[in-house]
């Protein structure tokens, strides 16, 4: 029903990987954050290296990653894994798309006047946005399996139309 592009998927995986490496390195020795190359990450997850490279470039341009050129270069997180949300990553890669074509970037509806379902859907849109905003990269590394499904099964969804 709702699709997230493969690029965004890859982006999230890459960020998770970087976060893992970073915390790992920090625990071993408080040393310089070791900038993983795009190739390394691509190999770790078996995804096309050049495609990932392009995604990482995008994320770097968005300010989520910092790139380091030259030999032994690579990418590292621009911020703490705890301060990067899934929403930011997706937005950076897929752009500011919305759940419905009604809600354009200008807030105007193509079918202005006729489209009467805009408002309810906008609220769904906002809910999803909040949902993704609540997920941080640090939440992805080692799921920790805290209360597996209780919150979902429960009545967390109570959108007021």
């Amino acid at each position: 029903m709702l699709r997230l592009t493969k690029k965004a998927d890859y982006g999230l995986m890459a960020l998770k990987y970087l976060a893992e490496q970073q915390t790992l390195a920090a625990s071993i020795r408080n040393g310089a954050n070791p900038a993983q190359s795009a190739k390394d990450i691509a190999e770790a997850y078996h995804i096309p290296p050049q495609l990932l490279a392009k995604i990482l470039q995008t994320l770097a341009k968005a300010g989520l990653l910092v790139s380091h050129a030259g030999t032994n270069g690579g990418y590292s997180l621009a911020r703490s894994a705890h301060d990067i949300t899934a929403f930011e990553v997706i937005r950076a890669i897929d752009g500011p798309l919305f759940i419905t074509s009604c809600i354009t970037i200008h807030g105007t509806c193509d079918l202005a006047g006729h489209c009467t379902i805009k408002e309810p859907l906008r609220k769904v849109n906002d809910s999803i946005k909040d949902l993704l905003n609540g997920i941080r990269i640090s939440d992805l590394i080692d799921p920790a399996e805290t209360n597996p499904s209780a919150a979902l099964a429960g009545g967390l969804v109570s959108i007021g139309l």
Copy 2:
């Protein structure tokens, strides 16, 4: 970021329209549910008639609508507007797609083993599903504007990873 196809949009609009007409007809005279033609609905919302026709066909096949061929034929809701959720409509039109390509219809990940973000995203997926499941066609007709944004601004989003 997350996109809902135009078809699903149209489908929701059409169902809303049918729900309106149905309750309207019921209030005027408790008469036979008047089967609106695809053309009528399309004209009401200024959307391509033949495209809407195809969408309505899909919805009919999914059991959400009943079609009535021949002169003065058309479509009418198969169930009460209160018993049809937005999720059903979207699923019927866009198919059982998922937020991430990792979560296929078989539940297996293309990158089995490597993809480690599957589980958190699946929960997001379920949350969105629940969200849409909570919206009924009857909620769309005349938004009623009950507590406009309180529920959203509040802490409704508390997905447990």
